[in-house]
Structure formats: structure tokens, C-alpha cells
């Protein structure tokens, strides 16, 4: 699936996005987040505080405990600050 990072997550990770296949056992967005965090480095720094991470599955806001299902795109980002 395609994974996107925005705002300071993008900066800490050093990537705007990447393609990956979630490994067996990764069912929810939170589990994918923890799988990515375990890479350490910029990923570890970006995902250190789950309380400030939001996500969208196929461009719909969803809670982190949502199952990835058949989604083709997931985005991780901080709370939004538009307007």
C-alpha cells in the first residue's frame, strides 16, 4: 500500500511517501505505525508520541485502531491546523 507522511512527520522521516506491504500480523493503522516506528531513526522520532498522530485510510479520517482492510493508501499526520 502507499503510505504518506505530512507536516513534521514528513520532515522527521525525510520522505513524503513510500510503498510497502504490511507484514503478517499488522492489521490496524496503529500496528502499522508501530511497525514503522520500530525502524528507528527518523521513523522512531516521528512516531514516538502516538497521541499526536492522526491518520486517514483512502483519504478518510479514521481512528488509529481501524483495520487497514483493502485500503490502498494510508496517511499519517499531526492534528490539522487549517483555516
Amino acid at each position: 500500500m502507499h503510505v504518506l507522511y505530512f507536516a513534521w512527520l514528513r520532515e522527521k522521516i525525510g520522505l513524503a511517501g513510500e510503498d510497502l506491504t504490511p507484514p503478517p500480523g499488522v492489521v490496524t493503522a496503529r500496528e502499522l505505525l508501530r511497525h514503522l516506528a520500530a525502524r528507528g531513526g527518523g521513523y522512531g522520532a516521528a512516531f514516538a508520541n502516538e497521541a499526536v498522530i492522526r491518520c486517514a485510510l483512502d483519504q478518510e479520517f479514521v481512528p488509529l485502531d481501524t483495520a487497514l482492510g483493502q485500503a490502498v493508501e494510508i496517511a499519517f499526520f499531526p492534528p490539522v491546523t487549517g483555516g
Partner: protein
């Protein structure tokens, strides 16, 4: 009636946008323009967004406003990229036969914009450094108040 949604780097022409809304012969227009606020050594704002999702969420907000109030038209234009102090960031404008609908819908839309669409602001300072803006609890409370049908709390001074 979904209205006009735009996410763009360019500025917007308020007069032209309001003229387009009033062309349907409405009773009144309400509008809000957000502007880059200075202070604390800020030199500019940079706005990032999630292309595709942003437009969909803005259209969804416009649809929600149209479902709740008797609107003849609705325009949401949100700028992205680097915006200098004093530059307009966002325009929300609505048209209705009577003022109450347009005024309430405009207030609703600007409150929802702050928490319901994937934009992120960072502050750029004179020394070239920048800092991401943190979400404000007051903005979440204002957006949530509409869901409970309560008037939004006043903005902190």
C-alpha cells in the same frame, strides 16, 4: 448544491467571488476572510495540505452547511504554500434569502475548516527557521459545539 471549492497558491479576488454568489439574486451574503497574523518575529506562514483529500473534505463541509441551512450558494477557497504577513489565507462566503442562514453557515464553515480538513500550518521566522503550529483545544471545542447544536464559545482574547 455543493458550491465552489478551491485549494490554490494564488490569492483570490473577493469582489469577484462575492459577485458570483450574488448573481443568483439572493437576499444576502456573509463572508469571512482569514489573514496571516504577525507577531513573535513571524515572517510568513507555510501551508501544506493533502491533495485530493482536502478538496473532498471541503466539499463535504459545504454539503453539510447546505443540508443544515437554506443556502443559495457557498464558496470555500483555501490557499496553500508560502503566505506573507497580512496575506489572505481563506475565504468562506455563503448566500441565502435571509441573513440568519448565511451568517450561521459561514461561522459553522470556518469553525469546521480548522479541525475538519487536512491542512497544516508552519510558521517561518526571519532567521529562516520554522515551527509547526500545534492544534488548539479551543478550535476543537468550537467545531464540536456545532455538533451539539450549542453556540460556539467565544474566541480567547
Amino acid at each position: 448544491m455543493r458550491g465552489r471549492i478551491a485549494v490554490q497558491e494564488a490569492t483570490f479576488d473577493v469582489n469577484a467571488e462575492l459577485a458570483a454568489l450574488s448573481a443568483t439574486g439572493v437576499g444576502g451574503l456573509a463572508s469571512f476572510i482569514g489573514v496571516v497574523r504577525g507577531g513573535n518575529g513571524l515572517s510568513a506562514l507555510r501551508l501544506e495540505h493533502y491533495p485530493g483529500m482536502t478538496e473532498r473534505e471541503l466539499a463535504r463541509l459545504a454539503d453539510a452547511a447546505c443540508a443544515r441551512w437554506a443556502l443559495r450558494g457557498c464558496t470555500i477557497i483555501h490557499r496553500v504554500g508560502r503566505l506573507e504577513l497580512g496575506a489572505p489565507i481563506v475565504l468562506v462566503a455563503t448566500a441565502s434569502a435571509h441573513r440568519a442562514d448565511a451568517l450561521a453557515a459561514t461561522a459553522f464553515l470556518i469553525d469546521q475548516l480548522k479541525t475538519g480538513a487536512p491542512f497544516w500550518k508552519s510558521e517561518e521566522f526571519a532567521d529562516g527557521s520554522h515551527r509547526w503550529v500545534a492544534a488548539r483545544d479551543a478550535d476543537e471545542a468550537a467545531a464540536a459545539a456545532w455538533r451539539q447544536d450549542l453556540p460556539p464559545p467565544p474566541e480567547p482574547l
